[in-house]
């Protein structure tokens, strides 16, 4: 379990967290999964985790500190700047998408309303990053 890459999901909607977790439980569980309910909690986790995450899925709209503000903090941090961040939103306007990429998002996904589509997209995103893309692994200096 300790050697699996850690995927952190920052999502304030409890329904969406539930679907993601449900989907994860049905998957081959190639990574460990951790939910943060907002950006502040994500920052606390980043400071406290025993192993650094290999991927973050980040909701664009969050209460308090929003997704792009969290992304900017990650990209400014020497410790976290490597972290691939996939942003998602239910309202993928052109300006929002470009804003996310300009601030260092690795990818941007539309969050669907429909539960079946949500499951499909989540599985596809999950598969691509786990199976086809190389993720940064926690090196010795990244473990505490």
């Amino acid at each position: 379990m300790a050697d699996k890459p850690l995927l952190m999901v920052v999502e304030d909607d409890p329904d969406h967290r539930f679907i993601m977790n449900w989907s994860y439980q049905k998957s081959t569980q190639l990574c460990s999964l951790l939910f943060a309910e907002d950006a502040e909690q994500a920052l606390l986790y980043l400071d406290d985790l025993p192993t650094y995450p290999s991927l973050m899925l980040l909701d664009y709209q969050l209460p308090g500190l929003d997704g792009v503000e969290l992304l900017k903090q990650i990209r400014r941090s020497a410790k976290w700047k490597y972290l691939p961040v996939v942003m998602f939103s239910q309202f993928p306007r052109k300006e929002i998408i470009e804003h996310a990429y300009e601030n260092g998002a690795n990818a941007f996904v539309t969050k669907p309303q429909d539960r079946g589509d949500f499951l499909h997209i989540w599985n596809t995103v999950f598969d691509f990053w786990n199976k086809h893309s190389q993720l940064p692994k926690a090196t010795d200096d990244m473990r505490r």
């Binding site: 993928p92 990429y101 190389q134 090196t139």
Partner: protein, 152 residues
């Protein structure tokens, strides 16, 4: 030939044609990628640059306007890491998604690429069948599932 996912999922209704810039110094690899692309009947166009410097000139001169860029690492003149750093430091091009596409799976290099702003890192397989499979996954994911910038 594998059946691409695009057969069942319609492309978003973009008015701007999809252009993928592939920066690769190996002529055989460029040819194999073009064959994989043609065989899968994918939408869009591949444009090739022979190295980082060539790709930079194409972008700066406005000769290509890609929505996605695949980047080899070991190349003459301007290598992939140097090119990546230049692009991600440029106000004009920093939002352009760059997928590292290289034979190296060195963990230090993977981490360095992400630190420099690579959007993804995919290991380029040596055999053609595997190349078509990886290409299908990369193409389908980045053009169907991902919202790319600069597309209208």
């Amino acid at each position: 030939m594998i059946s691409p996912i695009i057969a069942t999922i319609p492309l978003p209704a973009y008015s701007k044609p999809l252009v993928i810039l592939i920066v690769e110094d190996d002529e055989d690899d460029r040819e194999l990628l073009q064959i994989a692309f043609n065989e899968g009947n994918y939408k869009g166009e591949l444009v090739f640059a022979n190295d980082g410097e060539h790709a930079w000139q194409l972008l700066k001169n406005g000769e290509v306007d890609p929505s996605l860029l695949l980047l080899d690492i070991n190349m003459p003149r301007l290598n992939g890491m140097e090119f990546l750093e230049r692009i991600k430091s440029s106000a004009e091009f920093k939002a352009l998604p760059i997928l590292m596409f290289t034979t190296s799976s060195n963990e230090t290099m993977i981490r360095q690429a992400y630190e420099l702003g690579a959007n993804s890192y995919v290991v380029k397989p040596q055999n053609f069948q595997r190349l078509t499979e990886i290409w299908d996954q990369v193409y389908s994911y980045w053009t169907q599932m991902i919202q790319l910038p600069f597309r209208e």
